[in-house]
């Protein structure tokens, strides 16, 4: 135990070492994984460690009289391989809005959801943000899932000056844009990739870890930090294998992917895939007699993964943005309400959507009906206690709460197994 006197003495000796400014390091990036960290003590400029500002006018605009307070939801609700996320997202938002309306809405005025699909036309998310801004007059938007769609949406939101709360896009680059109108309350693939990399290489002493991923932006950017981290830790992946997102039509057997894995025979596989595709892949991997451990992204936490993979899912480890097994009255209440409505357990995305909506509603409570002041109120949130636990926002308005892991045991996810010594 270190006494208070000792702490004071240590502070006096090394004030910077005792600094509590955890946000001075972007993305919880450990020293070993800093880009070019082996070659330079510091880059010419480190971005994202200073608070984002919006310096434009608008805060002075008066609040209008409205019949309902409109909130937009932008999600893949049909025609997409991500509808399983979009629908869970919408369910989480609806639950939060229903609860708030039952307790009086916004100063007696009910909240109203305006829901739009993000996967219609080419670049639909841009068109939908225009409609949210000028036709629907929403005060904020919750959404969306796909990294490309979100990037497209946020540039329009920047121009129309509309706060966007993202609850499901884990693309690290989403907030690495300096757009002061985007917020994200879910841990990103950077944190998840760091956690897997440290666990595999430092705690399990694996050396040759293959990457198997979706051939889209989610897969490409999802594993980007793991790929870079593996190199920086001295273990470049022996192979990175893609699979077609339209696998059902093009390659339902995953024959090429399985053959490549067999040939390389890695110590483990890191899998970045949607739940359904991951289920098929894991079933094929095990069916081919390959026994290497599989470490997967958070999307496998959806029920369809287990349904499809069946027994082959046993032992699969997933990185998890929050721990639903930790005792929390907030989470238990949310889970009970969700079960009553949907006769199902809430997913990762439903829980984060619920929290994201609550953050937006709290900002509206504080700021009133003015998009600029709502943005400011969201930007002022450093920590938010939600059903997903403590959400810790960094200086680019992204959740940097620590992630954890879960292991599939007997058809159920067992959280905090394996226990990781270092989570990000």
């Amino acid at each position: 135990m270190i006494s208070r006197t000792m702490v004071v003495a240590l502070c006096a000796l090394s004030p910077s070492a005792m600094s509590d400014d955890s946000l001075a390091v972007y993305g919880n990036t450990p020293e070993e994984l800093r880009p070019f960290g082996r070659f330079l003590t510091a880059p010419y400029k480190q971005f994202f460690v200073e608070p984002l500002e919006f310096t434009g006018p608008g805060r002075e605009k008066p609040e209008p009289k409205v019949e309902t307070v409109r909130i937009g939801v932008l999600a893949p609700l049909e025609g997409s391989h991500e509808t399983y996320i979009g629908r869970d997202m919408l369910a989480g938002v609806e639950l939060a809005i229903d609860e708030r309306n039952k307790s009086g809405g916004f100063r007696g005025t009910p909240f109203e959801l305006v829901v739009r699909n993000d996967t219609g036309l080419w670049g639909a998310s841009a068109n939908e943000i225009v409609a949210f801004s000028y036709e629907d007059s929403v005060w904020a938007v919750i959404g969306t899932v796909d990294g490309a769609n979100t990037h497209i949406a946020i540039r329009v939101a920047l121009k129309t000056e509309l706060p966007v709360m993202n609850v499901a896009d884990t693309d690290p680059t989403l907030v690495e844009t300096k757009i002061p109108w985007i917020f994200r309350n879910i841990a990103d693939d950077r944190q998840m990739a760091y956690t897997i990399a440290f666990h595999l290489y430092k705690e399990r002493s694996f050396e040759r870890v293959a990457i198997l991923r979706a051939d889209n932006r989610y897969g490409r950017f999802g594993v980007g930090e793991f790929r870079g981290g593996s190199v920086r830790l001295g273990h470049p992946p022996p192979i990175e294998i893609n699979y077609e997102v339209a696998h059902r039509n093009l390659n339902p057997e995953f024959a090429l992917q399985i053959e490549r894995l067999r040939r390389v025979d890695p110590d483990a596989v890191v899998l970045w895939a949607d739940a359904e595709a991951a289920g098929h892949l894991v079933r094929r991997i095990r069916g081919a007699g390959l026994t290497m451990p599989v470490f997967a992204c958070d999307r496998v936490l959806h029920g369809s993964f287990v349904e499809i993979a069946g027994d082959a899912a046993e032992g699969v480890v997933a990185v998890v943005p929050y721990d639903p097994s930790s005792p929390s009255r907030l989470h238990e209440g949310f889970r009970d309400s969700y079960r009553k409505l949907h006769s199902d357990e809430p997913s990762v995305h439903a829980a984060h959507s619920y929290d994201g909506t609550m953050m937006v509603l709290a900002a509206i409570d504080k700021a009133g009906l003015n998009r600029y002041r709502i943005r400011d109120a969201l930007a002022e949130i450093d920590q938010f206690e939600g059903v997903t636990g403590k959400i810790e926002m960094d200086r680019v308005h992204s959740d940097r709460g620590r992630v954890t892991m879960a292991t599939m045991r007997g058809g159920r996810w067992v959280y905090n197994e394996p226990k990781v010594l270092r989570a990000f």
């Binding site: 070019f36 310096t55 841009a126």
Partner: protein, 359 residues
Amino acid sequence: MISVWIVAAALAATPPVYHLWESFHTTDGLPSEKAFCVAVDRDRVWVGTDRGLACREEGVWRTYREAEGLAHNAVLSVAVDPATRELWAGTMGGLSRLSAGRFTTFTQFDSGLPNDVVFGVAIENQNVWVATTVGQGRYMVREGRWQVYTPENSPQHEPWGYAVDYADGKVWAALWGGGVLEFDPATEKWKDHIDPDREMEIDLFRDDGLIHMITTAVSYRAGILWAATYFGLSSYDGYRWRGYMDHDTGLASNFINSVKAKGRQAWLCTDKGLSVVDYGSNRWVTYAPRDDPSNYMGPWVARNYSEGELLNTVALEAGLANNFVLGVDFHGEDVWVATAKGVSRGRLGGAKSRKGISP
């Protein structure tokens, strides 16, 4: 004699201070306070706002909206064909052409326009280029034909256009996440310019190439490419890249909404004011509120910098309409500026300022 010449050369390369600023608002006839862009066509000044397209001619503002045939009231970009004087407006609902007093609109439903959100537009010979949120498009006016550029046929990993410019026989495109693209219409070949470190969270070396992969605007004049980002400014003269940030130059802010070059000088529209830099001397003039950069009510000053050193500060009787600057264009020696709360005109003149129209 040599020292006199050196001093004269340095003075010539120093951007002049615009002492005279006047601003225009809805009370003067603008359809909205929020101006996204400005383009000068001889004696006409076109302004794209979020509530219509405004034109100032002989001191009078006129507005065009959807009711007159404009594709969408939110106008993000404007370009005028110098040969035909046709106006092309990139809106949040398609591309509009104003010719002989009539609008023709192109949307992704009825033409080859890649997407209806048109961030940038530029004229290349008889062709019109657009930077849309999902792809660059080239409309060959005479043929009535579109060519769309995406990762399938050009060196970009995502087709996220943000700005486009044409000068000296080359088309330049700023891509969100894709750096700068250069297109040679003569050979139909593309070339990309990207951030050499390829990392989003750092700039490894100042002068090694583009500051960042996310570029917001591009302008090419007098053999110098200027690329704006939300992380600072880059220039390239064909041999050497150079980076500029707010901590090492006179740049008002790293958050640069747009850039427009005039000769060897670049004008930077930032969220904290307007800056102009001379390429050869790296001398800067920055127009910003004196104290709090977001307090546009002022008082305003012009600050002169050499490299990163502040040389002097000049008080202005009137400043720009707002510190959040979105667009700039030139009318002779005059400069027109689109801001988030009005439009301003800057004029050269004596140190004695003339009071502008207050916001």
